[in-house]
Symmetry: C2
Subunit: 145 residues, 2 copies
DNA sequence: AAAATTGTTGCAACTAAGTTGATTTTGGAG
DNA sequence: CTCCAAAATCAACTTAGTTGCAACAATTTT
């Protein structure tokens, strides 16, 4: 199911006019290999298992990728942002977060065309993205309880 | 716990077995008077315009109210939580946040029964809340642009 | 009424996550 | 290879919230 092999990260960086650097490539590869959205700290730790890197570099790369629409920043809960690849193989989708273990699952994209217009709000608002987060108890934590 | 009339905060606290204290009452009144979700800092500043109070007190009261389901904590964007009253007159609803001015509007509740089952995710997950956030450009910012 | 118990607030110090500005290093065009 | 704008680094800082403990207040027990 991993579609990230269809993304050529080197070419993606080039098409964005970004230099190919070790940290940028690592961030894309790590997000591409991830089964769910990751925290900046997790990304940092994976890179650090391979090479020396400063957290500022990772934060600035993530910020830049988000501004370019290459990465999505999710506000799940608490004060920690999560990041996921926004390549063409990974359209926006809802997320499920467990109350107990705090783990995040990606859900299948749902058709929201029917509720979309209602969600625009007062006339004049121009909505461009809907972020859906489902909270609850995941199957693993249910089994333990 | 029936509050078919307007919310009586003193009674609400009593029914929760909570003592009536100045700060607790102030938090409820401020959230009750707010037209949209507020940050802890904003609540703190309003209380401080009336009396001396420590931020820890406000954070602890908000935490407690959230645990009791009296207040909802919203993860809108960034690292700052927003809080809104969860009394019976204020059911859960989607929020709109403007890219530009960051202001938050409350949207009308939408019926999600159609998508609810799809949003549960893998079998075994027990979802109990859906949080919907719409991002875009609000009507005020559109006029300015 | 005094003492004990419980609940609430205050204060200082701390933490986690991210940001800023100044400086050094480097990818890759020429 | 040379060069320089772009990228990475480092220390210091900020913001939002948390923790542990002491002080205080409100009930309950004696």
């Amino acid at each position: 199911m991993d579609m990230s092999d269809r993304c050529d990260f080197r070419q993606w960086l080039a098409s964005q006019g970004l230099k190919l650097t070790a940290v940028r490539l690592a961030v894309l590869e790590i997000l591409g290999a991830a089964s769910c959205a990751l925290r900046a700290k997790e990304i940092l730790e994976v890179i650090r298992s391979r090479r020396r890197v400063n957290k500022v570099t990772v934060y600035r790369i993530l910020e830049d990728f988000c501004n370019r629409g290459m990465v999505r920043r999710l506000s799940l809960e608490g004060r920690v942002s999560h990041y996921e690849l926004a390549c063409e193989h990974r359209p926006p989708h809802p997320h499920f977060q467990c109350h107990t273990c705090r783990e995040v699952q990606c859900l299948e994209p749902v058709p929201l065309t029917r509720v979309w217009t209602e969600l625009q709000g007062p006339v004049g608002n121009r909505a461009d993205h809907i972020d859906i987060r489902v909270e609850g108890l995941c199957h693993k934590c249910r089994e333990e309880a």
